[in-house]
């Protein structure tokens, strides 16, 4: 039996690494990858908690895994749109550095 609290701890570590990546890396594609990593960490937490509920003698539950399916859908949609935006931006300014795409910055 896996220690579920360590699974949740791993999820927290991965989420933190993703946050640091999204905040510090200046490359559009790597920022998107960091956001993917954060979604993956959330999925891991969902599956870990679901493993506890699955063993509930009063009625096994699968809701955590179905949430993961929804998160995967959102991630796929996000990447399709995000990479489409990256292509449009890079075509327009010929740079993948976020500092060069700051026209909307306040």
């Amino acid at each position: 039996m896996l220690p579920i609290d360590h699974v949740i701890g791993l999820s927290a570590v991965l989420f933190t690494i993703g946050t640091v990546g999204a905040l510090t890396r200046r490359n559009l594609i790597v920022m998107l990858m960091s956001i993917e990593l954060m979604l993956n960490a959330a999925n891991l937490a969902f599956v870990g908690f679901n493993r506890i509920w699955a063993a509930n003698p009063e009625g096994s539950a699968l809701d955590g895994q179905i949430f993961v399916l929804m998160v995967v859908t959102v991630a796929a949609a996000e990447i399709a749109i995000g990479l489409g935006m990256v292509i449009a931006l890079v075509r327009n300014r010929d740079s993948m550095n976020v500092e060069d795409h700051s026209v909307l910055k306040w």
Binding site: I4, E36, V72
Partner: protein, 169 residues
Amino acid sequence: MTIEVVLFYALAALAVFGALAMLLFVREVVASAMGLAVTMVSLAGIYLLLEAHLIAALQIIVYAGAILVLFLFVIMLFDPNNDDFDRADPPQIAIKVAGIAAALMLGVAIAGVVSAGLPDAGELPEGFGGFRDIGLQLFTAYVIPVEAAGLLLLAAMVGAVVLAKQRID
């Protein structure tokens, strides 16, 4: 320690290693993508250990397959060596904010996990996590979210085509 627990710690170490590789390969974007691939495949292994077989398969197919190939496709589309990636070091304020956010999140999460005292994962009922159970749930209790997800994917598809097709002036 049983073999499962040993495998879990090995896969967890591999996942963290891949994530750190993604974060720290500043010059090589392809290496970053490969680090993310390592993390995703190790997560699929952990899902298998957690008896979530469908999720493990989907993790490989959708994340390690489709999404990573999409990333690599875009990286290759624009020659990554031509443009000096990350030419500016991250601004000091970004590093500070990231450090504070990371410390806060890790602290709160670990304190939460420790104080919650999660129960151990018990024995699973017979036949848990099969495709049949998840499929039944998806098309009975969760039929509206499934339809909404379909609509979202359609909208994303149309949006991606429109975005990638035309120039923004």
